[in-house]
């Protein structure tokens, strides 16, 4: 039975909205508003949602790259919120992050080799010679060449930069990688190369991923289980096959129907969502999705539905299902 690596309980992250010269705190952007899930060793949990749903904030908050407003995050059973700086630093070797924009996440004034090896240096791993060897090993593993170590980021393409981001994350032998939209900025053929790399590394190294993306086709390609996020909350969570074949929540159904199919013969039944995502400062009452839901009922604006298991390994928060 594989161990639960990460358990997130009712996590919240609010960003204050301030007004005026004296920065009066008038409201909060409820970016993450009560999220719970777990990730087991070696599995990929896909987190899908559209712009502004809070998925990136969630990724950063659960790694304590930003301090949470409320909630707990347990790593191998231990509450990371209680850890001191030293324990947190040790933990950084086990959990790493790959960012969306390879351009801005690499220091333009550091060579590739230095960027990849920086974590090793910080954690005092190995001698200088050993670190150099490790950097070369990592470059090869992500499909680049040792000679790239002396290059600078601007000399590389988007796909190559993203591989560097992955190499850097792998340097300290993590158990969990939070990949925040790692392929969104890439062309399709480069995207395919990177997705294959991500999947191969998981098989080789037994890595777990929290794979964050807005593209359900990409999520479907790499995930074991999928969590769908809307306006700061998870509204459906299931095994990949179950979610893709049998989506319960109207939002999930809309997302699925919006996946562009490379098939001109197929006239898909369109669940066109009207309107736009509401503001996370003043989210709608009750079920947050009610303002755009094609199946809205009276109760939806009054009461927030809880995330409840409906079938084996399939939870949904929706009043349609009692």
């Amino acid at each position: 039975m594989k161990q639960k690596l990460l358990e997130v309980e009712n996590l919240k992250k609010y960003y204050p909205v301030t007004v005026g010269l004296l920065s009066r705190h008038v409201a909060d952007v409820k970016a993450v508003d009560g999220v719970s899930f777990y990730i087991t060793e070696g599995e990929t949990l896909g987190l899908v949602g559209e712009s502004g749903c809070g998925k990136s904030s969630l990724g950063r908050t659960l790694l304590r790259l930003e301090e949470p407003t409320a909630g707990r995050v347990l790593y191998k059973g231990s509450d990371i919120m209680r850890w001191d700086k030293k324990q947190l630093k040790e933990w950084r070797k086990e959990t790493q992050i790959v960012f969306q924009d390879p351009q801005s996440s690499l220091d333009p004034r550091m060579t590739i080799g230095d960027s990849i090896g920086e974590a090793l240096l910080i954690h005092g791993v190995g001698t200088e010679k050993e670190r150099l060897e490790r950097v070369e090993e990592l470059l090869t593993r992500v499909g680049l060449e040792p000679r790239h170590a002396t290059r600078y980021p601007h000399e590389l393409s988007g796909g190559q930069k993203q591989r560097i981001g992955i190499a850097r994350a792998l340097a300290v032998n993590p158990k969990l990688i939070v990949a925040d939209e790692p392929v969104s900025a890439l062309d399709v053929s480069v995207q395919a190369q990177i997705l294959n790399l991500v999947m191969d590394l998981q098989q080789e190294l037994g890595l777990a991923y929290l794979f964050i993306a807005h593209d359900l086709a990409v999520i479907g390609q790499v995930s074991d289980r999928i969590a769908v996020m809307y306006l700061g909350q998870i509204i459906e969570l299931a095994d990949k096959a179950e979610l893709l074949n049998n989506p319960f929540h109207p939002y999930t159904q809309a997302l699925l129907s919006a996946i562009p199919l490379p098939d001109p013969h197929h006239k898909r039944k369109k669940v066109s969502l009207t309107g736009e995502v509401p503001s996370p400062v003043t989210p709608p009452s009750g079920c947050r999705f009610h303002t755009r839901c094609p199946k809205v009922m009276k109760i939806c604006s009054e009461e927030t539905p809880a995330l409840r298991p409906l079938a084996k390994d399939h939870s949904v928060s929706c009043h349609l299902y009692k």
Partner: protein, 322 residues
């Protein structure tokens, strides 16, 4: 075809840089028909944006220059007409939506003013009439609460809304041809669908010809009548949407289709195209796809393949078929 309204013949657009001459568009020919949706598909650096900008003589010069070719709009060569004539056509008969709405909208003017400016300029309407026309245009593209929102600034709109503003501005003169450069790229899937619906509507209700430029072959299946696949500044394959998806011929087209992630591929590895997009400085003598092609033959390296007809309207530039 008698209903071809825009004919591009042997277009060559080069960029003269310190590192050499970049042959961004290297002898490209095609026609656009009345009321058709023609999709120009290819990855970053294939020359599709340069082709579109050349049509309206919007290439930055220096370092770019249209060195050869003809762009015939209803028989009139846009490359050789006066600037005055070009201004009459540009924005009026042929309108363009650029890639990034963020940088195409002026941040210091409200969106209503920006659209009205177009309307006044091209339709020569007085202030009140222009205002009413602007309201009508914004309503047509589905912007809610138009009279309020037209006083808002670009930064107050989401990505999808900004794109609608761009479309409203482009439609102000009811153009015969709309060139849209990656109009849905930065948008979430459900918003993409809404924008594609607008284009579909335009085609059906106003018989507008659309030249739709994108790197995403998936999006194209739902909207294209015909598709042109570009690679390395050249045309690789042309056909109807059914030709391209049912019977792709060029190894590059096949490669592009195979590397699309799909929920029906469930965890199988994708088959990416090996190698990288080529530099367009001093392109080789032969086929520009040669270094990455799994099926190359000796002649491919020596001579650039000409386009040959495979069936009906389906043509391909590849020695496998000639």
């Amino acid at each position: 075809m008698n209903n071809t309204i825009l004919q591009i013949n042997q277009l060559k657009t080069y960029f003269f840089t310190r590192n050499g001459v970049v042959k961004a568009v290297d002898a490209v020919s095609f026609g656009l028909r009345k009321g058709e949706s023609l999709c120009l598909v290819g990855e970053s650096g294939c020359g599709k944006t340069a082709t579109a900008l050349s049509i309206l003589r919007l290439i930055d010069s220096p370092p770019g220059e249209i060195v050869d070719g003809e762009i015939l709009y209803r028989g009139e060569d846009l490359l050789r007409c006066s600037s005055k004539r070009l201004r009459q056509i540009r924005g009026n008969r042929i309108a363009m939506i650029f890639q990034d709405p963020q940088s195409s909208l002026n941040p210091v003017f409200n969106v209503g003013d920006q659209i009205m400016e177009q309307v006044k300029l091209h339709l020569r309407l007085g202030h009140q009439a222009a205002l009413e026309k602007t309201v009508q245009l914004m309503e047509q593209v589905g912007i809610p609460r138009v009279r309020e929102r037209m006083k808002d600034y670009p930064h107050q709109f989401s990505g999808g809304m900004k794109q609608r503003v761009m479309i409203a501005a482009a439609l102000s003169c009811n153009p015969e041809i709309l060139i849209a450069d990656e109009p849905t790229t930065a948008l979430d899937a459900t918003i993409k669908m809404q924008i594609l619906d607008i284009f579909q509507d335009l085609k059906q209700k106003r018989n507008t010809s659309i030249l739709f430029i994108t790197h995403d072959l998936g999006t194209v299946a739902g909207i294209a009548d015909r598709i042109i696949v570009m690679y390395g500044g050249r045309i690789a394959e042309v056909g109807t949407v059914f030709d391209i998806f049912d019977q792709p011929k060029h190894p590059y087209t096949l490669g592009l289709i195979n590397c699309l992630p799909s929920i029906s591929k469930r965890g199988e590895r994708l088959t990416p195209i090996p190698g990288m997009i080529p530099s367009l400085i001093n392109p080789p003598e032969g086929c520009i796809f040669y270094p990455r092609c799994q099926r190359h033959m000796p002649i491919c390296e020596k001579q650039r393949p000409k386009e040959v007809a495979v069936s009906g309207e389906h043509t391909v530039a590849c020695y496998l078929y000639s």
